[in-house]
């Protein structure tokens, strides 16, 4: 029999910024956990278990949760660590969900974080593909010359934005949109972020023309379409159904109705095994979304989901994901964003928090999507980014790895009936 689980509080350590030279990793985590606890009736010792995640190679501390044991109140408690690349945050959340859904624990705290200024993110990011790039050296590519280079580009093709620009170009070709639509998406994200006190890149009243002034890096992605590297931590506390009344401060909680995840073909740098998928297809996203809707008992997502927090590492994904999550037709996004469909006061608000395009602390980003979706369901999003309509169901989506990993979480204001 199903055990229902609710998010009772969400905490941040503070605003996400590019550098925090004044605190260490563990102090950042402590601030986030304290913030989450302060909005509940829980005492720290009443948390049964913790699930943590970040990309520790970016920070240079192997398994940071070991150092943080007292700071996050995890002394003498079980701590599990999950790491799956960009989706780390949501994988952490799913693990925390299974901790409670399995019946083993009643109160679990999920923490995702990243402190980029401690390490060198370029080394960490490069580390994803470094073996493939170096292995190509065995096969004699022309790394030096401008002309040719042929297959040698496989390791780092697509200039500085990597495979994202391929995905964006393919998406535009399929949907009939243009670079101006990506400008609109980026402007929407920056403007939304200005209404979210915790977001990193806040540009009040940002217009597509402002974004269009930034140079194109790798067509169709501009400098203004890419996400920043942010430092910050996010903590989410979840509780089993029977204990919600005891520990939640108010009646407003967000019920976890369905979770699903899946992985498909790696579409960047698959130099040894061949790339057989168009990065804009994202078949797996559709499958994962359908699984999550089924578990949540949602038959008509277009009518039943009121707000979506999608993982938009690059602005074109604001257009891509609503289609692949079956919330709108394939290819519909360009027209819809022109009409303001995705605005905070639109038909289907997408990323009222500003999304990943405005704030990207890699280990935390996918968890922040869940946290923001929960805030929307609970009706307590601060700063003006709470959507005006009543939110019955919200969708949170995470994506990462090398373009192949998708996770979806559906939250709602009432639990699924057993």
């Amino acid at each position: 029999m199903r055990r229902n689980v609710a998010i009772i509080s969400v905490g941040y350590n503070g605003r996400f910024v590019s550098k925090r030279p004044d605190i260490s990793i563990v102090e950042m985590l402590e601030a986030a956990v304290r913030n989450a606890l302060s909005k509940t009736k829980l005492k720290p010792h009443e948390i049964d278990a913790f699930v943590v995640g970040n990309m520790h190679t970016f920070e240079g501390v192997n398994m940071g949760h070991l150092w943080a044991s007292e700071h996050i109140f995890a002394l003498n408690k079980p701590v599990m660590r999950i790491a799956t690349g960009g989706t780390t945050g949501m994988s952490v959340f799913h693990c925390a969900y299974y901790h409670v859904a399995s019946g083993l624990y009643d109160v679990v705290c999920a923490i995702g974080w990243e402190k980029h200024d401690e390490g060198d993110a370029q080394i960490g990011l490069g580390g994803i593909l470094l073996p493939e790039v170096f292995s190509l050296a065995h096969f004699g590519p022309d790394f030096s010359g401008r002309r040719g280079a042929g297959l040698g580009l496989m390791g780092g093709g697509g200039g500085s934005t990597g495979g994202a620009s391929f995905q964006a170009a393919s998406y535009l070709a399929k949907s009939g949109g243009g670079i101006e639509h990506i400008d609109m998406a980026a402007a929407l994200m920056r403007a939304n972020a200005a209404k979210n006190p915790y977001a990193h890149l806040q540009v009040p009243d940002c217009k597509p023309e402002d974004i269009a002034k930034t140079p194109i890096i790798s067509w169709p992605l501009r400098y203004g379409h890419t996400c920043p590297t942010s430092c910050g931590a996010c903590a989410v506390i979840i509780v089993a159904e029977e204990k919600v009344k005891k520990y939640a401060e108010t009646e407003k909680v967000a019920w976890v109705k369905g979770v699903a995840c899946g992985t498909s073909d790696v579409t960047v740098g698959n130099v040894h095994d061949g790339q057989i998928t168009d990065p804009a297809d994202q078949e797996m996203c559709k499958i994962v979304a359908m699984k999550a809707y089924k578990k949540a008992g949602i038959k008509n997502p277009r009518k039943e989901i009121q707000v979506a927090e999608v993982y938009d590492g690059f602005a074109h994904q604001v257009l891509l994901w609503p289609e692949r999550l079956l919330l709108v037709d394939d290819g519909a996004s360009p027209k819809l964003i022109e009409q303001g469909y995705y605005n905070i006061d639109g038909e289907l608000p997408v990323n009222p928090s500003g999304g990943v395009t405005s704030t990207n602390a890699i280990g935390a980003s996918a968890l922040v999507r869940v946290a923001e979706a929960a805030l929307q369901v609970m009706g307590i999003a601060e700063g003006g980014h709470q959507v005006p309509k009543k939110v019955k169901n919200a969708l949170a989506h995470g994506w990462g790895g090398l373009f192949q990993f998708n996770t979806v979480t559906i939250l709602g204001d009432t639990p699924v009936k057993k």
Partner: protein, 154 residues
């Protein structure tokens, strides 16, 4: 002591020799591709169960999870699946030379190969679906550089 009371924090620099790595690769797919390049051919492997043609061709099919062995040749002509135009670096500084990187599905293959596009004049005219042909080096040696680039077929 409250966080607000701390007036000064110290920055600690520390260099640790993290460790050099040794990776092992088999890369049977690239090895086969290089063999074919010597003859100006593009070789891959096909799964005898589901028919997917992988280029470079690994010795297993990821869909059927079985060993595959059938070597197939695909044409050195194909269609642009997707592409990108490199105009500036990550900071936004314009590049000296504009380059276009394409993902090409060669005729007969189910996989995409990446390479530089040549034979174009205005990058704004490039679209997915255009036809390209491999430009081979004059004296192929069995290295990645034998495939010089993909040339736009007018």
């Amino acid at each position: 002591m409250k966080v607000e009371e701390i007036k000064e924090t110290k920055e600690i620099y520390h260099y640790w020799d993290l460790s050099a790595m040794k990776w092992r690769i088999e890369s049977e797919g690239l090895a086969l591709l290089m063999e074919g390049f010597k003859e100006k051919k593009v070789l891959g492997r096909q799964c005898h169960k589901c028919g997917t043609v992988y280029v470079p061709g690994p010795t297993y099919c990821r869909k059927c999870h079985i060993d595959i062995y059938r070597i197939v040749e695909v044409k050195d002509e194909g269609t642009i699946g997707t592409f990108t135009v490199n105009l500036a670096d990550i900071r936004g500084n314009p590049l000296e030379e504009i380059s276009i990187v394409v993902c090409v599905k060669l005729d007969g293959s189910d996989s995409w190969l990446m390479g530089r596009l040549e034979g174009w004049t205005d990058w704004r005219e490039i679209k997915a679906g255009m036809r390209v042909k491999v430009e081979w080096s004059d004296k192929p040696k069995g290295t990645l550089s034998d495939l010089l680039n993909f040339k736009l077929i007018k």
